[in-house]
Symmetry: C2
DNA sequence: ATAAAAATAATAATAATTACTATTTTTATA
DNA sequence: TATAAAAATAGTAATTATTATTATTTTTAT
């Protein structure tokens, strides 16, 4: 695999933000540095980075995937109104759950814990229901 | 909301199977009883049933959503090779995790715990990697 | 400097899902 | 039971996220 500045830029952005952007948001951001980058390049590199374990993909069921540059074991809270994802630390931690769980069905490569609800901002803005 | 036999059939199928079918698979199944049902009807009713809390949607990130007629608190194991989903009971249980976790970011309506790996069948069939 | 290998931009294609609309089904009421 | 309003459907078109294709450009080893 060769170096690519576009890939570096994608990775850098994901490492620097605490948000959990979609491919489209990443595209818009990286475009500021590389205006000619194409959305396909973003998708291809995201898949690559996920396969390498340098980035995590978060599936919320809202129709588009989100990406996370923080690969440490942590869980997520998803607001079904504003579609934002927040980091949460739970007790026991996700890796404690993983360690304690003998799934017994095959290999376990990862565990994802996702809470869903309506965030405080959306409640305050009457953006809920 | 009015009664509909198509919706009943979808729900019945989801309650009867231990699999976690996609909309397409549900469509093919319900078609045996109602050959004229359209895929749009399946999607519309699945969304409805999920909103009513009678069915759960499972997002694995494999490009299509899966549905589960078992709404009791339980977790899932997803095989990234054969794309099947299996029920798993973990310790502590998903509702114990939910109870113990003070997310503090807003309301928490649900918690989903998903393990991902390669299932035994796929390992045996060298369907892994 | 150069050539092979890999990556890209631009675009086309695919696949899952949603929207639209004329027709049919359901349901409340006479 | 007949009927009419409301809701749901089938069939189809449209949308959206994602993947595939290909000619060109970038990277890297020599």
């Amino acid at each position: 695999m060769n170096y690519s500045r576009q890939r570096e830029s994608i990775k850098e952005y994901l490492m620097s933000t605490r948000e959990h952007p979609t491919a489209e948001v990443i595209y818009q951001h990286v475009r500021e540095e590389y205006p000619k980058i194409s959305l396909g390049t973003v998708y291809r590199n995201l898949t690559l980075l996920v396969d390498l374990g340098e980035v995590k993909k978060i599936s919320t069921g809202d129709g588009t995937e989100h990406y996370d540059g923080d690969t440490s074991a942590h869980s997520h809270y998803y607001c079904r109104c504003c579609h934002r994802i927040f980091d949460v630390e739970v007790t026991p931690s996700i890796d404690q759950i993983l360690a304690a769980s003998s799934v017994g069905l095959g290999t376990v490569e990862q565990a994802a814990l996702l809470f869903t609800g309506v965030c405080k901002d959306c409640i305050n803005n009457d953006n809920n229901v």
